[in-house]
């Protein structure tokens, strides 16, 4: 018990850092921000596994030790319990009066009568009852109930193991992946189409269900008035789904809390954003880039950040880095801001770069980051980079080409996951709750009634011993005592 207690404390303590320090698996961009803000601390945190606490060796060590201690407790207690289920109520101690829950009275009834009534009373309460003579002419009724408490206890601890095994199965054989799909584009469930993909140790990509879908529409509504202006009201994506190549397509209305299920794989709508459609022409007038670019939302008004890369532009490669404002306005300092998450007055503001995008260096690049090592800005007269502000339909001329803001399309962030066997941890928790209720509310209780013949009549002693806290044994003593005496009056 003491070991379990210490390990529980350790587990609670060990879980704390992961809630305060950004976690790689929960919020990778927060981790990146933390790294750049604390460059000297981050390597130490890396060494200690602070960015992935819940998979770190020390966290695992604590819960594995807890499991070992649980099993080490469970097996001997199971054996003991198997014996206890067949046990008889223990014999009455010599001195019942020393129990704090005790009552006694003297009666004219014979010990045999008293014990018979006590036996039938206690048996009717579904107690295990033994009646025996104690050698001095007295009769003792010994009763016990509440054997199921320990059963509940054992069930609970077994269920904890079931939950952990279930969690291990779902994470080993499942996968989780994410992808951003622009409205009008399609996704087919193959590894290459995912933006991020984390498979379980036993998952094979050949197990991916061969479904595909197209995002036909996406609509989002926001509260237009105060209070709570801009609060999202609903998100709704209309999909055309094919369960496998060649299957009949069907429409599916994908919403938050309303995932798509195909062959055990689930598709969840977990986010959305805007993809400005941008056309970049190079210095020779050729189209170097044209299409929607996924911009990442930064705040509740969907001010979004994104980059455009035009590696084929001639005579020099072009890059854009900028912000998108769905409902653009200008604040007091003359900076563009977004004042509403819906599309009211879409504006992009960006800085254009020319030079080498660094795509040929062989180092993989994020599509959301511009490597500016070999890039230069187009500067204004005062030496500051020129910031271009475009509304839909506007174009801006650059020295080596032009940029046109054609329009905006929404994109949806989808999480696609497969968690096989998730019913195992679910039933484990339900089993645990059932066991817990048993172990908390079933109270083992021993009751003894001793009837001893004496000169003035039969001395009846009643004592009750609770073997778990929380009950009120005095009430039971009173009840047994008064019932026995009441029965006497009516007899």
């Amino acid at each position: 018990m003491r070991t379990a207690l210490v390990l529980l404390f350790l587990l609670a303590l060990a879980a704390i850092p992961g809630s305060l320090i950004p976690q790689q698996k929960v919020d990778a961009s927060a981790v990146a921000a933390f790294r750049s803000a604390h460059p000297s601390l981050a390597p130490w945190f890396d060494r200690l596994g602070m960015f992935s606490v819940y998979t770190s060796p020390w966290f695992s060590a604590v819960y594995l030790l807890l499991m070992v201690s649980l099993i080490g407790c469970f097996i001997p207690r199971l054996r003991l319990y198997a014996k206890a289920t067949r046990a008889r109520p223990p014999k009455a101690p010599r001195n019942l009066a020393r129990f704090s829950s005790f009552d006694s009275y003297v009666t004219d009834a014979t010990p045999g009568d008293v014990s018979e009534r006590a036996r039938s009373l206690l048996s009717a309460q579904r107690r295990r009852v033994d009646v025996y003579e104690d050698g001095s002419g007295g009769v003792v009724v010994a009763a016990e109930k509440g054997y199921l408490r320990e059963a509940g206890n054992l069930v609970f601890h077994f269920a904890v193991l079931v939950v952990l095994v279930g969690l291990a199965i779902t994470s080993l054989y499942g996968f989780k992946g994410g992808v951003a799909v622009v409205q009008g584009e399609s996704f087919s469930n193959t590894l290459i189409q995912y933006d991020d993909f984390s498979p379980g140790g036993r998952f094979r990509s050949s197990q991916l269900a061969p479904f595909s879908f197209k995002v036909d529409t996406f609509s989002a509504a926001y509260k237009p008035t105060e209070p709570g202006r801009g609060t999202p009201l609903h998100f709704d994506a209309g999909l055309t789904v094919r369960d496998q190549p060649g299957a009949t397509p069907y429409r599916y209305d994908l919403r938050v809390n309303h995932p798509l299920q195909v062959d055990g794989t689930s598709v969840f709508l977990v986010g959305h954003g805007y993809a400005p459609v941008i056309t970049v022409r190079d210095g020779k007038g050729n189209i170097a880039y044209s299409g929607p670019v996924v911009f990442l939302p930064l705040d509740g008004t969907f001010t979004s950040y994104g980059v455009v890369k035009a590696p084929d532009a001639q005579p020099t490669q072009l890059g854009l880095e900028g912000y998108f404002f769905p409902t653009g306005a200008v604040d007091q300092t003359n900076h563009p801001v977004s004042i509403f998450p819906g599309l009211g007055n879409p504006v992009i503001s960006f800085v254009a770069y020319h030079g080498n995008l660094g795509l040929d260096s062989g180092v993989p690049q994020s599509v959301y980051v511009l490597d500016k090592k070999h890039l230069k800005t187009y500067d204004r007269a005062n030496g500051r980079p020129k910031v271009l502000l475009l509304k839909v339909g506007d174009s801006a001329r650059l020295k080596d080409g032009s940029v046109r803001f054609d329009g905006v399309r929404p994109w949806v962030k989808l999480q696609i996951s497969h968690s096989p066997g998730k019913l195992v941890p679910l039933s484990g928790v339900l089993l645990a709750i059932a066991g817990l209720l048993g172990s908390l509310f079933i109270r083992p209780r021993r009751t003894w009634v001793r009837a001893t013949p004496g000169a003035g009549g039969t001395l009846v002693e009643i004592a009750v011993l609770d073997r778990a806290s929380g009950g009120n044994p005095d009430d039971h003593v009173d009840q047994v005592s008064s019932t026995l005496q009441a029965g006497e009056d009516s007899a």
């Binding site: 529980l8 809630s19 609060t231 809390n257 309303h258 968690s419 509310f441």
Partner: protein, 334 residues
């Protein structure tokens, strides 16, 4: 209509806060009146040794002072005062609960949904759960002695809610459009009511058991003050345990319901979101409390401290994570 209802709700909540305040004053007076008054020493329950007692059916109905509480001496004015203020405090608490309930219900009606969408609504509903838990306990276990801590707590939280957390009604974000909102938050609110009352009882238990120890150590028999009208520390501990034992499985269920909902809304049932992490920490801490009660050397005061640690993790989750944390559970509206 919505505006009228929501104003009605604000009025009711403000009214409830004021009535809690008066109820608290009554309970303060109840405690203060006991300052000079000596309580009959609390002894272990005496053996009843009766020749013939009345049949069980005609057993005298137990009324307000519980059998654990020393019977007040009706002849003394002071005793009567204590009891009177206690009763006044309790009646006012019932009145305040009525207003409070009306406030929560009209808020829900005005919003057209369960009133659990932001921090103000969580705080008003959570406090209601605390006071309702107290009322149930008064009916079942005669714990009117919890009146002062419970009304003080209700006053504090409702006051903070009205003054600092208030937000006008606004619609729910899409992630909350689910019947699991009702199940998950209701279970969590009832469990938190239990944890709160359990924590208050544990504090009283610690105070009372220390007083008992000191009195025993100094052979001090002057049993003056309200403290000596509380049940024995053992009886307080029993109440604390019962409430915790009720709340813990419910908390387990609330976490489970949250996990099932998270599977539907976010595509994973557990993701170590800060709120989830702290719900887990609270669970582990209360599991430690239950183990402590069964571990030699940890029963009694040590276990009570563990329960308070559990409660502080719960409070941190509600206050710290809601207001300062990030993560998916950012519904505080602050």
């Amino acid at each position: 209509m919505t505006d009228t209802l929501s104003q009605l709700s604000n009025l009711a909540i403000t009214g409830a806060t004021i009535v809690y305040f008066v109820a608290m004053l009554a309970h303060v007076t109840e405690w203060a009146s006991a300052r000079q008054i000596t309580a009959t020493p609390v002894v272990a329950r005496p053996a009843l040794r009766r020749r013939v007692t009345v049949p069980a059916t005609a057993a005298p109905a137990t009324t307000m002072p519980a059998s654990d509480v020393p019977a007040p001496d009706r002849n003394s004015d002071g005793e009567e005062n204590i009891d009177r203020f206690g009763r006044i405090g309790f009646s006012l608490t019932v009145l305040a609960v009525g207003l409070h309930l009306a406030g929560v219900v009209t808020r829900g009606a005005a919003a057209g949904r369960v009133p659990w969408g932001n921090m103000y609504e969580f705080a008003t509903t959570g406090t209601l759960a605390v006071v309702l838990a107290y009322l149930v306990l008064v009916l079942r276990y005669k714990v009117r002695w919890l009146g002062l801590p419970v009304t003080s707590f209700a006053l504090l939280i409702l006051g903070l809610a009205v003054l600092l957390l208030y937000r006008p009604i606004s619609p729910l974000v899409p992630a909350l459009h689910s019947y699991w909102l009702a199940i998950h938050v209701l279970a969590a609110a009832i469990a938190s009511g239990g944890f709160t009352v359990g924590a208050l009882a544990s504090i009283l238990y610690l105070v009372k058991s220390r007083a008992e120890r000191n009195a025993a150590a100094c052979h001090d028999d002057r049993r003056t003050g309200y403290l000596w009208r509380l049940p024995t520390s053992e009886a307080i501990d029993r109440i604390a345990y019962r409430v915790h034992a009720f709340a813990f499985p419910l908390w387990t269920f609330a976490v489970l319901a949250g996990a099932i909902w998270a599977q539907y809304a976010w595509g994973r049932f557990w993701g170590w979101d800060p709120k989830e992490t702290w719900a887990f920490i609270t669970w582990v801490a209360y599991a430690a409390y239950l183990h402590a009660r069964a571990t030699a050397g940890w029963q009694g005061r040590a276990a009570a401290y563990v329960a308070l640690v559990g409660y502080s993790t719960f409070l941190f989750n509600f206050v710290g994570i809601n207001l300062f944390g990030s993560g998916l559970h950012s519904y505080s509206g602050m």
